[in-house]
């Protein structure tokens, strides 16, 4: 005996079909939470805004930090300083990416006669990760130009940037190395069995995977460096912070610093979103592979 298929009509009984989706209901489901969120945001933020601006001290705060006239006056110089900050940032990024790669590669070399170089890198990383960046910037930026070394640049900006690069490279080298170490041993075996040299294996097979794996971590460094270049202002480099400070020193009004802060946010928030996006893509890719 064979059973009828489960959805076969039974004699005399109408076939039960699934009900069509209740569109009106769906629409309500989709819109109601959104409306509630917007209302809630308007009420809460409106209340906060009213509470702050109605405080007795608010006019003083506004005059000190959010003075529109002072902001407009300081803006051109702060902007030109910010432009210098961003140029330092991009140059430093480029140098860090390369120098850290050299450090990571030296540390990953397996041949025994590279032992002294591996040791040098380990010591380098320990030292530069262990000293505050600000201290390094002061030490390099003021100390080295004072030596008047022949044949080398004498600017505080140059040596301050070198300090940033050396310090950040120590962190980035460790990120690179974790990526290189995470590449499966089977990849090395496959490359070796194909006749690739160690250098070719690194260039073609291992590094591309390592970089892809550590991209989210690198993006965080990129964002951190973007604002840490402000440290160079202690050397008198006329970046955004310095220009804002100069204005503050003559007017005793801090709105210029708020302008600088705003400019940094304008630059770092998109970078942070980009970092989030890269991280999310990376996680999706891993899940896809696992599934």
């Amino acid at each position: 005996m064979s059973l009828p298929p489960a959805d076969a009509p039974v004699d005399g009984v109408a076939v039960r079909r699934p009900l069509p989706p209740r569109r009106r209901d769906d629409w309500r489901k989709a819109v109601r939470p959104t409306v509630i969120s917007i209302l809630s945001i308007v009420i809460v933020f409106g209340a906060l805004g009213w509470w702050i601006t109605s405080a007795a001290q608010w006019p003083r705060v506004q005059l000190q930090f959010f003075n529109v006239n002072a902001m407009a006056e300081a803006f051109p110089r702060v902007l030109s300083g910010f432009w210098i900050s961003m140029r330092i940032w991009l140059t430093a990024l480029f140098c860090i990416a390369l120098w850290a790669l050299v450090l990571a590669l030296v540390r990953s070399l397996r041949a025994p006669w590279f032992a002294p170089f591996r040791l040098m890198v380990v010591v380098y990383i320990d030292i530069f990760r262990g000293i505050p960046v600000l201290l390094l910037v002061l030490l390099f930026g003021f100390g080295i130009p004072a030596l008047n070394l022949p044949g080398l640049p004498n600017s505080a900006l140059f040596w301050g940037s070198v300090a940033m690069i050396l310090s950040y490279s120590a962190y980035v080298a460790e990120i690179y190395r974790s990526g290189i170490d995470a590449v499966h041993e089977g990849q090395w075996a496959a490359a070796k069995s194909l006749g690739l040299t160690e250098a070719q294996t690194m260039i073609y097979a291992v590094l591309p995977q390592a970089l892809r794996n550590v991209l989210p971590a690198l993006m965080n460094i990129v964002v951190a460096l973007q604002k840490d270049v402000a440290l160079l202002s202690v050397l008198g480099v006329r970046d955004a912070v310095r220009e804002a400070q100069i204005y503050t020193a003559t007017t005793f009004n801090y709105s210029s610093l708020v302008v600088a802060a705003g400019l940094f946010l304008l630059a770092t928030i998109p970078m942070a979103r980009l970092a989030d996006y890269v991280t999310r893509k990376d996680r999706e890719r891993r899940l896809q592979r696992a599934g």
């Binding site: 499966h184 089977g186 990849q187 075996a189 496959a190 490359a191 070796k192 069995s193 194909l194 006749g195 690739l196 040299t197 070719q200 073609y204 097979a205 591309p208 995977q209 892809r212 890719r285 896809q288 592979r289």
Partner: protein, 248 residues
Amino acid sequence: MTPKIDIDAVTKYYGDRLVLDDVSLAVSRHEVVCLIGASGSGKSTLLRCINRLVDFDHGEIRLDGVSIEDQSFGATGLQKRIGIVFQSYNLFPTMTVLDNITLAPRRVHGIKRAEAEERARHLLALFGMEDFAASYPEQLSGGQQQRVAIVRSLASRPDVLLLDEVTAALDPELIGEVLRIIKGLKDEGMTMVIVTHEMGFARDVGDRVCFLEGGRILEEGPPAKLLSRPEDPRTQQFLQRIIEAGRL
């Protein structure tokens, strides 16, 4: 006649642990030898000694009568002549299928890109993979990836192929497509050493089966005899367990 591969009294330690104990095995030209045995019996290590992925401590392995440690092989001569396919494919995930296959021909053997790609496409077509040249390994099924891995090792035109449990990571329904390819290679006269858990496959494709335990070859013979009427009680016990697991 000189054997294609002549493994002569090879001994290998991992630290203090003896993994290959005075193993000797000669593989003739066009012969297919299957290595079977439990995990840790030394069969994969033995396979990896043949193309020097693993260095051994004593003994010698010869390819066409020449020690594989001979200077005449240079840095890549041995790898050009001996291909290996791994259990976990080990394809390079950042490269397309085509780039995976042409990497060694271009970077190691100095073949021009256009020629290497043409040969790669030809090989892919032979294995029914021509539509996947531009795909990335992660986009392929396990069976497809393993086919690409086989093509990649064949792209260097080796005269020996080593297969290290190439179906062990595959879903059962995908094993067949890979095994058919290996049978095809046997029909074309490829010399192969195969580490496998698929006893049915060893029976089909193997000219000879070796049973390893504790780093030694305990018993060897034609598959019909060794897999049906093994003499050594340890071989019998191993095969009994395989039968109970439903793998024979």
